[in-house]
């Protein structure tokens, strides 16, 4: 095979696969299920540390063309009417891919590292498996390619397969079967292992099946699987050796038996989706090494799923929303994470300092519990600002849904625009929530801050007009009078029977007295709830591009420059972006990133 031919083969099928990663598939109901996609794993050994497989079927090209069609409705100037995926791949891959390769290539391609130790050598042991639909056509292609190659190949038959051995460089050997073509630099694996079929297969591994099973979409165009522990093991050994002080930590992560997977698909016809999942085989070991034998890592699966209807407290114009549950527990868990990372850092520093004849204790705070420092100083600082005990009086009742929001808004004053931002959480204990508002009012009084109280709907709000305004420098672009005449800059602490909300005036007023269309009523958010967020998500991150574009138009930012106009145009192609995460148990967690294209 010529190098060009080979490259054409690999480039073409990989491009098809990669295009599948961004495939929007509006014309096909489902991407192939993981089980189909991962079927080629039966040719890989059970200890395979890196494995990737892609859908390269003809359908991928159709799906990509469908995607272009969707984009063309929003940004026709950027998507020529005659643009199609097949021409694109053919052009990029060269070698007449569509005419010489595509006809005999099947639906799937896989690639994997056969021997994780080989990753540290000059030639990792790689196996590429390509499903084929016509052995003869494939043979013809290989013959043509090999005849033009600089390498010399020797052909032989092995148990129904045809083996082509690269006798010159031992790099690209081929094993051709009735429905499969293998390419590998590991001749023994091609010559002996695969033909015999007598080996422990990756597809039979429980951990492989379990990890891929964490990908919850109906189907994927590409899946990537990684034995993270094995990779850490060899990289640590190779980079540092047994004497490396972090070896204990690395070894613990190896023993923790960590596996990860990524999957790419399209949901609801126009939502580009990247799923990932973690599978920690021995979570207890992981925790004990990082935090000590008696310590327990926080169990993220304890958090309840978010309530998609909580967005009813946010206005329809919401642009950036982070939503989760049980903020109190999450913040405590965040301190635990600080402890964890502190311990890791301390292990690293201990060896460095040992080299200088020093110990951790000789550097202030270095040997401290970082989570404790963060929690302690947060408690002290929060108390100093509010007079409230962060844990006992605030976090303890924050057990329901919460949301953080940040919106660009137009204002009537000469300031013309402002940011509406804040924090909303469910009111789970009216007495405790009222106590927060009362103590914050008292603290404001003691600090000598102007403070008033307003009623909105059934809720009340403490208004602190100075908090944000003092941040404007004297030489700000607009006068102090303009700042003062912009009520959207008021900071408010609101309480209703339903929520506690703190932030700038527009968002707080809406949360206390939701009126008109809310974010939960918008098509974009509804779509995200229905198809973009992971089922049972415990935290979600949402950007509403339509609302953002509208805000840019209202605030005249869109017309400020040509670049901004172009950005606005491109933004028009996107409806929303989301990130959602869920932990099923201490061992199993998953996340999803989506980009939903606008359908005009």
């Amino acid at each position: 095979m010529t190098k060009k031919g080979l490259l054409g083969l690999l480039t073409g099928v990989l491009l098809a696969g990669l295009l599948g990663l961004v495939d929007t598939a509006p014309v096909r109901a489902d991407a192939p299920p993981v089980s189909d996609l991962a079927a080629l794993a039966r040719y890989y050994p059970s200890e395979t540390a890196l494995f990737a497989t892609f859908d390269i079927s003809e359908q991928v090209f159709d799906d990509l063309d469908g995607l272009l069609g969707v984009l063309r409705t929003s940004i026709p100037d950027l998507i020529p009417s005659d643009a199609n995926s097949r021409d694109l791949v053919d052009e990029l891959a060269g070698s007449g891919f569509l005419t010489t390769i595509r006809p005999w290539v099947g639906n799937y391609i896989a690639a994997g590292i056969l021997d994780v130790e080989s990753l540290m050598g000059s030639q990792p042991s790689v196996l590429v498996a390509i499903e084929i639909t016509g052995r003869d056509a494939a043979r013809d292609f290989l013959d043509l390619s090999m005849s033009n190659a600089s390498s010399r190949y020797v052909e032989s038959e092995v148990r129904g397969y045809t083996l082509f051995v690269d006798t010159s460089f031992q790099q690209m050997n081929y094993l051709l079967g009735d429905d499969i073509l293998f390419i590998s630099n590991n001749l023994d694996y091609l010559e002996t292992t695969i033909p015999s079929g007598d080996f422990a297969k990756l597809s039979d591994e429980t951990i492989f099946q379990e990890t891929l099973g964490l990908l919850t979409a109906p189907g994927y165009y590409g899946v990537f699987y990684m034995d993270t522990s094995a990779l850490l093991s060899v990289t640590a050994q190779d980079e540092f050796g047994d004497d490396f002080p972090m070896m204990e930590l690395y070894q613990s992560m190896v023993d923790a038996d960590i596996h990860q997977t990524f999957g790419v698909t399209v949901l609801d016809g126009h939502t580009l989706t990247l799923d990932y999942a973690n599978n920690i085989g021995s979570y207890e070991n992981f925790a004990s090494v990082l935090l000590g034998d008696d310590a327990v890592l926080p169990d993220p699966s304890a958090y309840p799923p978010v309530d998609g209807t909580f967005a009813r407290y946010l206005p329809a114009r919401s642009q950036l929303v982070i939503q989760g549950t049980a903020l109190g527990s999450q913040i405590s868990g965040m301190f635990d994470i600080f402890t964890l990372y502190g311990n890791i850092f301390q292990q690293m520093m201990a060896d460095e300092l040992y080299g200088y004849g020093m110990g951790l204790s000789e550097i202030p705070f270095l040997d401290s519990d970082w989570g404790g420092l963060a929690q302690g100083w947060s408690t002290v600082t929060f108390a100093g600002l509010t007079g409230l005990n962060l844990n006992d009086e605030v976090l303890s009742w924050m057990t329901g849904d919460f949301a953080l929001f940040l919106d660009l808004i137009a204002v009537e004053s000469d300031l013309t625009l402002s940011l509406d931002m804040g924090f909303i959480t469910q009111n789970t204990d009216s007495a405790a929530v009222n106590n927060v508002q009362e103590k914050m009012a008292s603290a404001a009084e003691r600090y000598g801050l102007v403070n008033t109280t307003e009623t909105h709907g059934g809720g009340s709000a403490l208004v602190l007009p100075q908090l944000v305004r003092v941040l404007f420098p004297p030489d700000f672009m607009v006068s102090k009078d303009v700042i003062d005449a912009t009520p959207e800059l008021d900071v408010m602490i609101g309480v209703s029977d339903d929520v506690f909300v703190a932030g700038s005036r527009p968002g707080v007023e809406y949360a206390l007295n939701p009126s008109g269309e809310s974010l939960a009523d918008t098509a974009a958010y509804t779509s995200a709830v229905e198809s973009a967020f992971l089922p049972g998500s415990q935290s979600i991150f949402y950007i509403g591009f339509d609302a953002l574009a509208e805000a840019l138009r209202e605030t005249d930012l869109a017309g400020m420059s040509r670049d901004m106009a172009e950005v606005m145009y491109i933004l028009g192609a996107v409806e929303s972006a989301t990130i959602s995460t869920v932990s099923h148990s201490t061992a199993h967690s998953a996340g999803r990133l989506t980009l939903t294209l606008a359908q005009r």
């Binding site: 402890t339 519990d369 108390a383 100093g384």
Partner: protein, 594 residues
């Protein structure tokens, strides 16, 4: 021109004030008799006994101390010997102390600093020395003997004036003498007018009849002293505008108010019970606060309760330093309030304009943005939010007796280590329980290494670095674990400190500081009704340097002998203070070993 007499007498004042002045007292009326000859507006008047018996007592005291130090004091090295040498030298051998000085020297002498203007004017000594005289001819003989050469050369001329004989130096900076039947005045010629006034007339308003002087005298807690001082700073601040024009001062100062705020001060020194060197100081408060001179509000100062000396029963006898006061809560409250009421106007009305005048607008903006109210509010809210007590309740529960103690104790691992104790009278059982619980909660937030059980917080500690270094230097096997620190409250006390100290405080035995000979003995000399006490229990150091002490392994015998001899000189030291609306008194004592 010789200035030996003035120098010698000044030295005598210094010596008596520091050591000798604490010796054998005389009634203050006698000691201050010379105030009748001095104008009321002097800035400083300091009197000391000058009778021969006093000098001998000083010499005996010095000999006593020298003996304990292993350095016997020769008779020639004492006060009398020194005066004798000075007299012989000054008179070129014509006189000695016995014949030339003792014969006319009265019972007291006073050093006078007439006016603050002299201080700012610079030049020669601004002091006058007024000495009581019992034999005028003998006194004149003394003066003529030391001026023999000057009189012959005309450098000093003699003048008779209204019953006084003046020996006037032609050089205005040199010493001149004036002698009457009762007085000798030694003065720089620049003070000729004042000296003549003292020597020849009775002041219309003598210092002895001054209200300020008598108020200062009355403010002293004792009746008898060997040395006495009176200071009227008002004169200094009244004179300031003469030498410092207000235009040269970047801030607005009302020097009249400033002078009024100074009040007057008095000092007395004596030896009590033959071995307690005592120095008293009394401050008669001015009519206004010093802050008002700068246009700032007066600070609020509350009253404080008297000490209950039996509170020392909660402190073990090995306490080296003991501090005892009352109303800690109110004091903190006042401090916070005053920081705000004075600090913020100072920042914004005085400091910021000064910085702007210097052209540093950015720095001025930074300072202007700062507020002490914000700082103190943050501090108080921090306490409320972390401990869980309203700040007023916290202040209130700390308003009883309060003591802290510090011990240096032998340690088998590090030779010495330290224990400490803070103990408050518990005035609020519920509040103190919440206080301890709140501290435990905060330690929990910091994930500190501690335990909390049965209302007791236990925090493990390591020994101080300094003591560990001592052990490391000697290659001693190191055990760095120190005593636990405990925080707890009983019905009676709130206690923080090293485990042994805390356990003792909660269940005191007879081996308390209050029961030690040193404390029991010294307490009779504490100011009556004192509101604060600092006590140094020197005897607590004895075990550190004993032959069987761990430190003996590394400290040579000779070093320990010297240390033992030094610390054996004194049993204890103390400072007590008592403040009322009108006055503040301090008493410092140093008790010599028996």
């Amino acid at each position: 021109m010789k200035k030996l007499m003035l120098m010698f007498m000044s030295s005598l004042f210094g010596l008596t004030l520091v050591i000798g002045g604490t010796a054998f007292a005389a009634p203050t009326a006698e000691l201050t008799a010379l105030a009748a000859y001095v104008p009321a507006n002097v800035t400083l008047f300091a009197a000391v006994r000058t009778d021969h018996a006093f000098f001998e007592e000083l010499d005996a005291l010095a000999a006593q101390i020298g003996g304990k130090m292993g350095s016997p004091v020769d008779a020639d090295d004492g006060i009398v010997g020194g005066l004798n040498d000075a007299t012989i030298f000054s008179s070129n051998g014509a006189l000695d102390y016995e014949t030339g000085v003792r014969s006319w020297l009265g019972d007291s002498a006073a050093m006078v600093f007439p006016h603050a203007a002299a201080l700012f004017r610079g030049g020669d000594s601004p002091l006058l020395l007024v000495v009581s005289v019992t034999d005028r001819p003998a006194a004149q003989t003394f003066v003529e003997a030391i001026f023999a050469d000057a009189l012959a050369s005309g450098e000093v001329v003699v003048e008779e004036a209204d019953g006084a004989t003046l020996y006037i130096a032609s050089n205005r900076g040199d010493e001149s003498y004036g002698v009457t039947d009762n007085l000798m005045v030694i003065y720089p010629a620049v003070y000729d007018d004042l000296a003549r006034q003292i020597l020849t007339t009775t002041p219309n308003e003598p210092l002895s009849e001054s209200d300020d002087f008598n108020a200062a005298l009355e403010a002293l807690p004792g009746d008898d002293y060997s040395a006495f001082g009176y200071l009227n700073l008002e004169g200094i601040f009244t004179s300031l505008p003469e030498f410092m024009p207000t235009s040269a001062i970047p801030i607005s100062v009302d020097f009249g108010v400033l002078a009024d705020s100074m009040g007057v001060q008095s000092f007395g020194a004596t030896l009590l019970d033959g071995r307690v060197l005592t120095f008293d100081a009394a401050f008669v408060h001015g009519g206004v606060s010093v802050f008002e001179a700068f246009g700032l509000p007066a600070p609020s100062v509350g009253t404080r309760d008297a000490l209950d000396l039996s509170f020392a029963r909660h402190v073990p006898s090995n306490a080296f330093v003991y501090s005892h006061s009352t109303n800690a809560g109110s004091q903190i409250r006042e401090m916070m309030d005053n920081v705000v009421s004075i600090g913020d106007p100072f920042l914004h009305d005085i400091l910021v304009p000064l910085i702007r005048m210097a052209g540093e607008d950015e720095a001025a903006n930074v300072v202007d943005a700062f507020s002490f109210n914000t700082l103190t509010t943050f501090a108080e809210l921090t306490v409320e939010g972390t401990i869980g007590l309203p700040i007023d309740q916290l202040y209130g529960l700390l308003n009883g007796q309060y003591a802290s103690a510090f011990s240096i104790i032998p340690d088998p691992d590090t030779y010495v280590t330290f224990d400490s104790l803070q103990v408050f009278e518990n005035l609020d059982a519920a509040g103190s329980g919440q206080l301890v619980e709140g501290v435990a909660s905060l330690l929990g937030d910091f994930r500190a290494d501690y335990t909390y059980a049965d209302g007791v917080i236990t925090v493990p500690t390591t020994k101080p670095l300094a003591t560990m270094m001592l052990a490391i230097d000697s290659e001693r096997e190191l055990n760095s674990v120190g005593p636990d620190m405990l925080i707890t409250a009983s019905d009676e006390l709130i206690v923080v400190g090293s485990r042994p100290q805390v356990e003792f405080a909660l269940a005191p035995s007879d081996d308390s500081l209050a029961a030690t000979d040193a404390f029991t003995y010294d307490s009779q000399f504490f100011l009556s009704g004192a509101q604060s006490l600092s006590f140094v229990n020197i005897a607590a150091l004895y075990p550190l340097f004993a032959d069987d002490a761990p430190l003996a392994e590394v400290a040579p015998q000779t070093d320990r002998d010297q240390i033992n001899m030094a610390i054996g000189l004194f049993d204890s030291a103390s400072m007590t203070a008592l403040s009322t609306e009108a006055t503040t008194q301090f008493r410092f004592t140093l008790t010599m070993g028996k």
